[in-house]
Every structure is written in C-alpha cells, then in structure tokens.
C-alpha cells in the first residue's frame, strides 16, 4: 500500500508542480499589470467559482445532460452502422463515407440552419453534440467488431456456436477495448458540440453563460466557464478511461492498439 502510494505521488507531483508554477507566474504577471485586461488572475477565477458557483451549477446541469444524451445517441447510431458494416462487407464503404461526411461537417455553420428545423433548445444541443462525437465512435466500433482473431472464429464454428453465442461470448468482449478507445476520444468532442450549440441559442447552459459573461466583459466569469467546460471534457475522458482500465484488468487484456 505504501509503495503504491509512493508510486502515485511520484507520478503525479511533477505535472502538478508544473501547473501550480505556471498559475503562480500568471498571478504575478497580472499583479504587475503585464497582461491585457481580458486575462484575469487565477485567484480571481477561483473567487468567481465561489461567487457564481450556484449560477454555474444552474447552467451546467443541462449542458451535462445534453452531452450525455448526445454521446448516447451517437453511440447507438454508430453501433448500428458499424454492425451493418461488419456483417455486410459491401455496406462498409458507404458507412465510412457517411462517417467522414458527418465528421467534416462544419458544426458552426450548420447549427444555425438546424435551429430553423428544431429550434434553439435542448434538441439542437443534443443533435450537435451527437454529430461532433459520432466519428471516433464509429471508427472504434468498426475496428472492434473486426477484432475477433481468425482462429477464434474457427473455434466457435467448430463448436457449432449460434450467432448470439458468438456475439456475446466472442465478438463483444473482443470489441470492448476498441469501443472504450472510441469513447475516450468522443467524450470531449461531445462536450465541445454541446458548447457550440449552446452559443447559438439556449436558455440554460454553460455555453450561453459564457456568451453572457463575454458580452458583459466579465473576464473572470468567462474564464470560470472555460475551466468548467475543460473539467467536463476531462471528466468524460476520465470516466471512460477508468471503466476501460477496470475492464482490461478484469479481462487480462492489454490496452487496444489505437
């Protein structure tokens, strides 16, 4: 236990120290008046968390909901399309083309058009969030569904396994490491998608809070919302990284080559 703790501390302290050092430098630079007024002191941003914390909580809840919903919808859609592409080889080309098309869609330009159809509410936020994170999920699942080793496939054939047994006992466990990799990349993208959509229009949301703060020249509040969005993205990544690590350790597998 003591060794584990020492290893943890050894791994964590250099980046932590570097970050704290940078923040201290920034604090000094602001105090000496070296920076433009758009850059507040880190202490100011921290104080803003104290003052506007309740406000932030009010705005961040629907943002988290939209992100989670967008991620879930994108994952379901990616699973269906990757499943079609994996079981029907000719469909794979069109599926990938569709994925690239979705991925290359400029969200900033498309979101205002979408408003015309679905309005500026939660529906818009979820759609844009799902669009933003769709592609890495599709790639992860497509690769995952093909991760079954050739001889393992033959083994299940010789054992006369049903399609369902193959899926549950072989394909899904083999695919999970790749799917987790997809989710780790997709989660921060979903956060970004939600943010962009909320800029376009929202009653509640960390994105619209950011816009209000910008228009009222409240620099500490702008930076508070930026930090909050970063934490959301890191949280999403971290959650999937944790689930992945638990699964890989349980399954006795190495991390999937990405």
């Amino acid at each position: 236990m003591a060794k584990w703790l020492r290893d943890r501390v050894a791994a964590v302290w250099p980046p932590t120290a570097a970050l704290l050092g940078l923040l201290a430098l920034l604090e000094i630079a602001v105090a000496l008046g070296w920076t433009p007024i758009t850059i507040p002191a880190p202490s100011g941003v921290a104080m803003e968390f104290g003052q506007s914390g309740a406000d932030l909580a009010y705005h961040i809840v629907p943002s988290i909901l939209a992100t989670v919903a967008g991620l879930a919808i994108a994952a379901a859609l990616a699973a269906i399309l990757a499943g079609i592409g994996a079981s029907w080889r000719r469909a794979n080309g069109p599926v990938m083309t569709f994925g690239v098309l979705v991925d290359s869609t400029p969200l900033i330009a498309v979101a205002p058009i979408l408003i015309v159809f679905v309005g500026g509410g939660m529906t818009l936020h979820i759609i844009v969030s799902a669009t933003a994170c769709f592609f890495p999920l599709l790639i992860g699942m497509t690769r995952g569904f093909r991760a079954v080793e050739g001889t393992a496939d033959e083994l299940f054939h010789v054992l006369a396994a049903s399609r369902w047994q193959r899926l549950v006992k072989l394909a899904l466990p083999s695919a999970l490491p790749y799917i987790f990799s997809g989710f780790k990349i997709a989660a921060p993208l979903a956060v970004l998608g939600t943010l962009i959509a909320e800029w376009m229009g929202a009653e509640r949301g960390v994105g619209i809070m950011m816009i209000y703060a910008m228009f009222s020249f409240n620099a500490p509040q702008v930076w508070m919302t930026i930090v909050a969005v970063c934490l959301m993205a890191i949280g999403g990544y971290g959650a999937f990284a944790l689930v992945e690590r638990i699964y890989l350790r349980w399954a006795g597998l190495e991390e999937a080559p990405t």
């Binding site: 033959e154 010789v158 054992l159 049903s162 006992k169 466990p173 006795g252 597998l253």
Partner: protein
C-alpha cells in the same frame, strides 16, 4: 464406427480470380480409435485437410465421412474436438471457464467435469488463472482440455506444439498419448516433424505439395504405451527413414520434372 473416411477429396480456393488447387484427389482413412499423423512440406494442404474434416470448409469434390456421416452432422453434434496451432484461449476467461466454453455452447451436462479435464492435462491448481499467466505449453494443455471436455469422437490437432521448444514438446507428446489412450478418441495430428509423426501415430500419411496429394503411407508398428526411450531404438530410426524416404523421394521427382526450379 467413428472412423474417418476421405474419398477423392479435392479442394480449390479462389485467389484473386485464379483457382488454386490446395488438395487433389485425396484418399485416406483413419480407423476408429487410432492415431493418424499427416506430414508434409508447407503448402501441402495438411491444415486444409484437417479443416475439411472439421467442416470449416467444404470440399470442392469428393466426400468425407466422420463415423459414416458428413462432417457437418458430426460438428453440429459436438463430436469434433479441434486444437489449433495457437492455443486460441479467450483471454478474459479463467482456465476453468475456457475449458467449460464448449459445455456452455452445447448446453449439455458432460460426463466429465472441466475440473477432471484440467487434472487430466496436469493443470490442477491453475483453475482460476488467466491465460496470460500461463506459459505457452500450459496454454496449449488448456486448449487440449477444452477440445476433450465434450468427449469428442474425433480429435483434430493442427501442429499443436509447433511453437514450443523441443524439450517441452516431447514431454507434451508423451502426455498427449496418455490422454488420447484414456479418452479413446480417433485422433489426427498435423505435424512437420518426422520424429513426432512416427512417435505419435499408428499410421503416418505423407503429403506432397502443389497440389497436395498423398505421396505415401508408413505404418508404425511400435508397441504402446510409448516412451521417449523408444526414440533411441533402431526400429524407430528405420521408420523415421521410411517417412523421410517418401517425403524426399517425392521432392526429387518434382525437382527433376522442373529443372528450372532446381537451379533457382
């Protein structure tokens, strides 16, 4: 009754629109309960033949009978055990769960428990270990236990110990013979080692390459049970030489007929 009969089997594969004949007119039979070895150079289609018997592929021409029935019936009836060159264990399952996989898939209650099979291959105490914690030889033992857990009438092995070092390999072969005698199945072993073929089999079928044909058959009349000491006997060496003769005779006639390859 569960002997294996192969009559006039030809297998062609389509490769980039070209037809490639992997096996050409194979006639071969393995009596029930006996141990056969298939030996030949790489590309002679010995692994393909094994997969035809296991109903992984269907022959292009000819017929295969496993216990008088088509391979598909034997496969669906869980009468075939297959051991691959790589152990092909599921890494997320423990040794016990890997050995129990065929039971789960077939949905039957076998006469012998997975634990009994794990004991048979000498891995007691490792039931809860994951494959990654085992050596290559131990992993292959798990694969053999898995292949035998449903007491298949036919045990097919595709160079099961090919990746192991010589010492481990000979030890595994002695154990495999013991396990085979206990289980009483009909066994076919694909190998490219002459001594292994002679040591294990009642009959060695020698295949030639391009396309795969039966070049000859060597009957091994060595007494059982066999031990490593047997390999020092003159009779063993004579049988090895007989197999070698068929293998390389065939090679020479081929070289004669295609001189450009002999020089190249």
């Amino acid at each position: 009754m569960t002997g294996i009969d192969i009559r006039g089997v030809t297998k062609r594969f389509d490769l980039d629109g070209r037809s490639l004949t992997a096996l050409d007119g194979i006639d071969l039979s393995v009596p029930e309960g006996s141990f056969a070895a298939l030996i030949g150079p790489s590309g002679c289609g010995k692994s393909t033949l094994l997969r035809l018997i296991a109903d992984v592929f269907a022959p292009s021409e000819g017929a295969i009978a496993v216990g008088g029935r088509p391979p598909k019936a034997a496969r669906l009836n869980h009468e075939i055990g297959f051991v691959f060159q790589a152990a092909t264990l599921l890494p997320w399952r423990t040794v016990r769960e890997n050995v129990a996989l065929p039971i789960e898939i077939a949905g039957v209650t076998p006469r012998r428990s997975p634990e009994a099979l794990i004991r048979l291959v000498g891995l007691q105490g490792f039931e809860e270990a994951k494959p990654a914690q085992l050596s290559g030889g131990m992993q292959q033992r798990v694969a053999i236990a898995r292949a035998l857990v449903l007491e298949p009438k036919v045990l097919l092995m595709d160079e099961p110990f090919g990746a192991l070092d010589e010492i481990t390999r000979q030890r595994m072969n002695v154990e495999l013979l013991r396990i085979w005698r206990e289980s009483g199945t009909t066994a076919i072993l694909v190998t490219h080692t002459i001594s292994e073929a002679v040591f294990m089999a009642d009959r060695v079928h020698v295949l030639s390459a391009n396309p795969g044909r039966v070049a000859g058959v060597v009957d091994v009349d060595l007494p059982r049970p066999r031990s490593i000491d047997l390999m020092k006997s003159p009779r063993f060496n004579a049988l090895e030489n007989a197999v070698r003769q068929v293998l390389f005779d065939d090679d020479e006639t081929e070289a004669d007929s295609t001189p450009e390859r002999a020089h190249g």
